[in-house]
């Protein structure tokens, strides 16, 4: 295997008194989908926030260990740059209170893209990639908040793609949307992994099984087991993984 795209090394995270992650080490290979599964409170979402350092928004957060992006410690990368390289899709769809166009053009504009033609191109590319273009191409100036939930989640995805990130993190993206939209986004992700690395936190075991190349099982702030998806689901080595996969708990 070539050098990992994202390498998490002995990462621990405390939020105030609460130990959220303990000694997490994990290598995320390039151009694949990594699924992170585990019961609520396992630290899955917190782990994602360490990737793009949004965890630092919380004044109580104390992080030790390293997250290395393409050989570079994320703490040495400017947060704005880092968050353009490591994009994040949050669980609940958030259409910002501006037009569909402006929603997608938001991050590129902040990154300094001014030319209308260039912005138009980015907006179209991202909306096509997120399978939303056909539904909104005639009403790009409509308020993003007026789209339906599923559309807003795809808008969120389009926005995440607008900076052309190298790593796309999704935190339970399907929690608030219908199965049809979920399947569409899953198809989109499988297409996207050709050009980027995807890390996906999910509560749906079958979702991980369907599209993840590599699955990580987390429990109580630790990585219990990480393996290629087919191996993990068929021959889990750790009994706790087995119990979770077979529905004995969680």
């Amino acid at each position: 295997m070539s050098a990992p795209h994202l390498s998490i090394q002995d990462l621990s995270l405390r939020l105030g008194e609460k130990q959220v992650l303990t000694g997490v080490s994990l290598d995320v290979p390039r151009n694949g989908i990594v699924g992170i599964i585990g019961p609520a409170g396992a630290g899955k979402s917190s782990l994602l926030t360490c990737f793009n350092r949004t965890v630092e928004q919380n004044p109580l957060a104390h992080m030790t260990g390293r997250v290395v992006l393409d050989g570079e410690d994320v703490r040495r990368i400017d947060t704005s740059d880092l968050r353009r390289r490591v994009a994040m899709v949050l669980p609940l769809p958030v259409g910002l209170p501006m037009s569909v166009y402006d929603n997608v053009a938001f991050a590129p504009r902040m990154a300094g893209v001014r030319r209308k033609a260039e912005l138009d191109q980015i907006v179209e590319r991202c909306l096509v990639q997120s399978a939303l273009w056909d539904e909104v191409k005639d009403r790009l100036d409509m308020l993003g908040t007026r789209l339906s939930g599923g559309q807003q989640q795809r808008l969120t995805l389009a926005r995440a793609l607008s900076t052309d990130p190298e790593i796309l993190c999704l935190d339970e993206f399907s929690i608030a949307i219908d199965p049809v939209t979920t399947m569409r986004i899953e198809a989109v992700l499988v297409e996207l992994k050709k050009s980027m690395t995807i890390v996906m936190v999910t509560n749906l075991l079958l979702q991980a099984r369907r599209i993840a190349d590599y699955t990580v099982f987390m429990l109580a702030g630790k990585v219990v087991e990480a393996a290629p998806t087919d191996d993990l689901f068929v021959f889990a080595r750790d009994p706790r993984t087995n119990d979770y996969l077979t529905g004995k708990f969680g």
Partner: protein, 298 residues
């Protein structure tokens, strides 16, 4: 369980219920009654005069109700009022909104709590004290900075701005904090700095609430009396420089009502000014209210 459900409440509870309901209703209705009563009172005294003199009032800049013959031109007073309000907004809106942003987005919890107490304290200072501050502290300061001797409109405007700040800050902060946390997270996750998040996401999202804060501030400015009476210089003229003294509608009423002969023409003219003020503040508050409603609806 069924036992309890079937038992009938004693009959007196229904009477108590009736009395309490009546009292509550009375309290609610009384506010409307008072407003109407004020409206009728001011209207009765001033509307006749207003209708008789509407044209001369509007075209003349001279307000000399005690001259022979008296002149009741309100143009200078209206301009003076708008001048003070406009000038004070130039100070209070940027400073007030910036403080609101600081309190809601940048301040630590401890800093926010202590600053809010101070801001609320600012709101509790009586307007006569503000006028005093304007005359005794601010005006000498302005003269050191180059204003000619005497009170002036800038002085009054700054005092007004200080008085409206607490309103702008607390309403503005409420509006900003009402913006869903998810907007902030989304903006931050896309690489926005905190300032970019405030400017590009929070401000547009809280736009209506911020506008309401400004409009209520305007209403407060227009209606303020004592401080402007003391601090503006109280001279009837159309100002041409920020250092010119001005006179407002409210200050005119306050200063002259005591001397006007009850029921006389001068007396009535002051009530006509009252009607005008009432109408303007009503319109401003009405717009603020509609804006707020729109905000709730969206």
């Amino acid at each position: 369980m069924a036992e309890i459900a079937r038992r009938r409440p004693p009959s007196y509870t229904r009477h108590v219920e009736f009395v309490i309901e009546g009292l509550i209703r009375l309290c609610g209705v009384s506010a409307i009654i008072f407003i109407l009563a004020i409206f009728v009172f001011i209207g009765k005294e001033g509307i006749g005069f207003l209708l008789r003199n509407v044209l001369p009032m509007l075209v003349s800049i001279d307000w000399s109700p005690t001259a022979e013959p008296p002149v009741y031109g309100i143009l200078a007073l209206v301009v003076g009022t708008l001048w003070c309000v406009g000038l004070s907004l130039c100070f209070s809106v940027p400073v007030g909104l910036a403080s609101a942003v600081y309190l809601s987005e940048f301040a630590s919890d401890r800093a926010r709590e202590s600053l809010k107490v101070v801001v609320e304290l600012l709101a509790a200072i009586p307007s006569v004290v503000w006028g005093f501050i304007g005359v005794m502290i601010l005006n000498p300061l302005l003269q050191k900075l180059g204003a000619q001797v005497g009170l002036n409109g800038l002085n009054g405007a700054i005092v007004l701005a200080l008085m409206t700040l607490p309103l702008l800050v607390s309403l503005g902060e409420d509006a900003l904090r009402a913006v869903p946390e998810s907007y902030r997270q989304a903006a931050i996750a896309m690489g926005a700095t905190r300032w970019e998040m405030v400017w590009r996401v929070l401000m547009p999202a809280a736009q209506r609430g911020l506008l309401v804060a400004v409009l209520l501030g305007v209403g407060r400015c227009i209606g303020e009396t004592m401080a402007v009476l003391m601090a503006t210089g109280h001279a009837v003229r159309i100002p041409t420089s920020i250092y010119d003294p001005v006179r407002t509608l409210t200050a005119t009423i306050a200063a002259e009502l005591g001397e006007a002969v009850r029921g006389g023409e001068h007396y009535q003219s002051l009530f006509a000014l009252g009607i005008l003020l009432f109408a303007v503040t009503f319109v401003v508050n009405f717009i603020a209210d509609r804006t707020l409603r729109g905000r709730r609806a969206s």
